[in-house]
Subunit: 384 residues, 2 copies
């Protein structure tokens, strides 16, 4: 069964004076509003969320959302894959439609991170690592530092090529009204920002963010009853890598990105040259080139050249993170994979405003942990 | 596509000196062991778990499990629906096979509850309630007390009829080597046990439990390549009710149980009289009669008669909770919905030992919160 995305929305990302439950409802209602569908039409409701229990002591978020938007008695379930929960939500939503279990599935990803009721935000995020890593203080930012050092050294990569990724993504976010940051930065500013985990600095990392995003899925045949402006989810697949990062032969090779990408391309029956726009998981600048390599867009050790040479700029041949990416749009963990798809949806339907590029096929890659669990998805303009 | 359960297993339930990660791996490896399938054959891996982040500060459990059993690079995802996470896992696994996304899906449900690293166990469980309930101290045990009072009063139900449920389920658990309790109890003992939330007493409630359970799913056509002893998952559906319990017209009516049951029967194309054995969610004794009513086996206000009159005894016409139920087998939150299906699997294939009843079709009902989110599933003996 062909699976359509009928509608897409996201809240403003940033520091929000709202609970997770309110954030989820905001994106959900907005997503339904722009269609002829009502909350009563929703048969399955998936909430992508990493840690509302840890951040706010709330674990019944899917139930709360169903009730708050008036979707009860819809089936409501939480989908978790740490920072790739949103991408996993795309896969769950696809399966719900493709299996015939649901004819109208609402996926809402969200996270409330800037205030926690139960502990330290960094500590909660680090709960996705293996205890053997955590106990040595190897959290995600420090993994990124260690891996960046190896990447820069092994492939003789100039340090400021990573800063170029941050500069590009901050530049894109200026034109995204819902992005957390609306501030251009320069390579010099990025290179002068405080060291977080040598050789990486503050501007290499995404911020802590509140926000949510939503997508409405249905069979293509149903979508065509509502609109002739929809997107198709033609390829989606996920893969895992070792839980302990040091068990990987080469930590600069994102194996789960490669495997999920391979499967998604096969399912969508297309190849790299068919992709016009991408949202990659730049939790840290380093990951953007590593994903370009693992997904087969760049040769090994060459991904860093893309931002430097302008290929991934908005006016380049393969625009990446036109939304501003995790770096500047923000990274509310469970929302991110959904927000990536929202950007691609808008690009494919010509709704991206000042960020608009020419695109009829787009890709999202959402990474959990340091490449631990990954979902890759390919979207195409609907052909009603 | 017809979906088969190829294999089923569970760990000993009780207080276990093991982390969540070890518990999950134990059931998973045992489940694969009895088949010709290997960890490398697993394409999708679902972990049903409510709160490993809150109980043990671990959120990467699906990734850990994939790595620990050697299933990497399988797709690994966590499925959450509070205390119905296991039931939701059945639905997710079904969708993964029925959609064609996976040809071999391993579902593992588990929870480690008896020790927590991060807080009080009751507090963690109560995180599934609405904050407006929680802030008034209305946790699940107290909801049960309030609802029991109403049920007993409204339908003129003898208090000791609930004790009969506990006595029956404790009796069944004696013959279940993996159950938490192996201790017969009497109605007098149950009625004399300490009051928890009037009119309910200690023996009305399930214990806090560690444990895990696993099921291996594949298309029927694939199952037949491995064995002629398999079970089919012919009906599965879920539904939600209000998040705030007092918003329900009648809290003694389990609306989400009724709705998920209605859909599951429709999908399985059978009716109540076709069911030979059931595992119901007796988190508290009261829920067993309420589910018998909502699922259409008993008239309103008459469910309590079933245990009293012996219908739901092992030698009765409709044995319920032959495993011992949540009451005596134990209730490791995320494991329960999977463990219910393990019992039905064993009953249908004649592997239930001293608990064996005659059955060719069975039903499981897994309840999240106080009927907030529910999944009902119907299994039939495979017909290879």
């Amino acid at each position: 069964m062909d699976v359509a995305v009928l509608s897409a929305s996201m809240t403003d990302f940033g520091e929000r004076d709202a609970w997770i439950q309110e954030l989820l409802a905001e994106a959900a209602l907005d997503c339904l509003d722009s269609t002829g569908a009502t909350p009563e039409d929703v048969e399955h409701l998936y909430v992508s969320n990493m840690a509302s229990g840890e951040f706010e002591g709330r674990t019944g978020v899917m139930n709360a959302l169903a009730a708050d938007i008036g979707a009860t008695p819809a089936y409501a379930q939480r989908v978790g894959q740490t920072s790739a929960s949103g991408g996993a939500g795309l896969y769950a939503a696809w399966q719900s439609i493709a299996s015939g279990a649901s004819e109208m599935t609402l996926l809402v990803g969200g996270e409330k991170m800037t205030h926690t009721t139960t502990g330290d935000s960094s500590d909660i995020i680090a709960s996705l690592t293996h205890p053997v890593e955590y106990s040595h203080g190897v959290t995600l930012p420090s993994f990124a530092g260690l891996t960046a050092r190896r990447y820069l050294d092994r492939f003789d990569v100039p340090r400021d090529s990573l800063a170029e990724v941050a500069v590009k993504n901050h530049g894109n976010a200026v034109d995204n009204p819902r992005a957390q940051f609306h501030k251009e930065i320069t390579v010099d500013e990025a290179m002068d920002s405080p060291v977080v985990a040598d050789p990486l600095r503050l501007y290499d990392y995404c911020p802590v963010t509140d926000g949510s995003a939503a997508l409405l899925f249905c069979p293509v045949s149903v979508a065509e009853q509502y609109t002739d402006e929809y997107v198709e989810l033609t390829g989606v697949a996920g893969a895992s890598d070792t839980h302990v990062v040091h068990e990987r032969e080469d930590p600069t090779w994102m194996g789960a990105v490669a495997e999920s990408g391979r499967q998604a391309f096969e399912m969508a029956d297309c190849e790299q040259s068919d992709i016009d726009v991408m949202e990659l998981h730049d939790m840290v600048t380093l990951l953007e080139p590593l994903e370009l390599e693992a997904l087969g867009f760049a040769e090994r050790g060459e991904g860093w050249r893309f931002a430097v040479e302008g290929k991934t700029q908005r006016d380049g041949e393969l625009p990446v993170n036109t939304s501003g990416g995790l770096k500047a749009r923000g990274h509310p963990l469970g929302a991110t994979g959904v927000a990536q798809a929202v950007e691609i949806y808008e690009q494919l339907l010509g709704e991206a405003g000042d960020r608009q590029v020419e695109a009829s096929r787009g890709l999202t890659c959402n990474v959990g942990g340091f490449g631990n669990c990954v979902t890759t998805a390919i979207f195409e303009e609907g052909s009603a």
